[in-house]
């Protein structure tokens, strides 16, 4: 973890504190790191010696007398608006669906109607807008489980925003469509579907479990999708530096995707579809057991910079290269 990652994570863990208190902690650690580096210490090692951001925050939160502050809804009710310029957006939620949508202009905004057992905090620090929703006590009641499907957090991102987005939830779906151009996008859920379409981003990381991941019409440099027990469908996506799709116990379907580094893996699920490229340029490695494959197990020549790795078991591999029409 480098300095910025460490400080960002720490700020995130300290979300229950007010802005001033959080700023003190961040300043303290930033100064520590600067002084350490000036004294010839290794940045990485030093950060490791601090301990995990979660543990540091737990200690500070335990000490702090200020209790969790419920954010004050601004302007209109149940809308939380960033007041400063935002470079990064962090949404940290539990048991609730996330919808991320574009708005032509205006500030970064979160719309959310807290239920009785929801607690919300927002913070803005060094250009990082953090919205955190926690559930005081989890109710696993079918009625509530289903009614919460209607209950969601909506994040409005103005088209002028080109920063990073990190959003996580659990037991619910994440959807994003039509956003402008973002730098890094990291989306994480569990037991929920992730569906993303029509936007551009530098790197994309989407992770869930027991849910499908559907990506459509996305552009960027690098994309990693991970799920388990859920299918993956990728269509019209271009990520030259890498397109990595992983699942297990479920199938995978790709169509009209383009990358120099394909990496598809499943187990007990088929992998099929079409990819753009000239097969001769790719170092191909593939393996399945108990299934047919349209790809050679290994066809590698020296100097090949592009690669395709496809692995599954107990299912077939049916991947075909298409020459991209210009």
């Amino acid at each position: 973890m480098n300095q910025e990652e460490f400080l960002q994570q720490l700020a995130r863990e300290l979300a229950p504190l007010n802005e001033e208190e959080r700023g003190r902690v961040i300043d303290y650690y930033r100064e520590m790191i600067c002084d350490g580096i000036e004294n010839g210490e290794d940045e990485q090692k030093m950060i490791e010696s601090f301990g995990k951001p979660y543990d540091i925050a737990a200690q500070i939160l335990a000490e702090s007398r200020s209790t969790v502050q419920a954010a004050i809804p601004s302007e209109e009710e149940n809308t939380y608006t960033a007041k400063n310029p935002v470079q990064s957006i962090i949404i940290d939620a539990r048991q609730i669906a996330l919808e991320i949508r574009p708005v032509p202009s205006g500030p970064v905004q979160v719309h959310f109607m807290p239920a009785e057992n929801d607690r919300v905090s927002i913070s803005e620090q060094d250009g990082i807008f953090t919205f955190r929703q926690t559930v005081l006590y989890a109710i696993f009641h079918w009625h509530i489980f289903f009614s919460r499907e209607q209950h969601k957090i909506v994040l409005d991102i103005p088209e002028s925003f080109h920063g990073a987005l990190s959003a996580s939830t659990s037991n619910a779906r994440i959807g994003a469509s039509g956003l402008g151009k973002l730098s890094h996008v990291r989306l994480e859920s569990s037991n929920g579907q992730i569906s993303l379409s029509n936007f551009e981003c530098g790197t994309l990381n989407a992770k869930t479990s027991n849910g499908a991941v559907i990506i459509h019409n996305l552009y960027g440099s690098n994309c990693t999708v991970q799920t388990s027990n859920g299918r993956i469908s990728a269509e019209s996506c271009t990520f030259p530096d890498g397109l990595t799709l992983r699942t297990c116990n479920s199938g995978m379907f790709v169509q009209s995707v383009s990358s120099d580094q394909y990496d598809f893996a499943s187990s007990n699920g088929s992998i099929r579809g079409t990819v753009f490229g000239d097969m001769r340029e790719y170092a191909v490695r593939s393996h399945t057991s108990n299934g047919s494959s349209t790809l050679p197990p290994e066809l590698v020549y020296p100097d090949q910079k592009k690669s395709m790795n496809v692995h599954t078991s107990n299912a077939r591999i049916d991947i075909r290269f298409l020459q991209q029409s210009t």
Partner: protein, 103 residues
């Protein structure tokens, strides 16, 4: 040493150190660690508490194009150190007693 007691002792060590001159986070850790185990992450809550209790005050000074936060001891902090030292004689007697009885 149990944590609560260690925190108390650390507070005194920080205050004692600041009696000489104001200092900053990184140097405080380096100056104290030969005597008592302290890390950057244990120091923060201690400094914060000392500041909140008016035992120390802070000021910023420029260093290499950035601001560094310095901690300066206040009368209340000096009083704490005096108190600790005045208890030392009593503590020594107690230690002696415990040692004698444990032979």
């Amino acid at each position: 040493m149990d944590t609560q007691r260690k925190k108390g002792v650390l507070e005194i060590c920080v205050l004692a150190l600041l009696q000489r001159e104001p200092s900053y986070g990184y140097r405080i850790v380096r100056d104290i660690s030969p005597y008592i185990e302290v890390s950057e992450s244990t120091l923060y809550p201690i400094l914060r508490r000392l500041e909140a209790g008016d035992c120390v005050s802070t000021f910023s000074q420029e260093h290499n194009g950035r601001l560094r936060k310095y901690y300066r001891i206040e009368p209340q902090g000096k009083e704490k150190v005096r108190q600790f030292l005045s208890e030392a004689e009593e503590m020594r007697r107690i230690y002696q007693f415990v040692e004698e009885e444990s032979k």
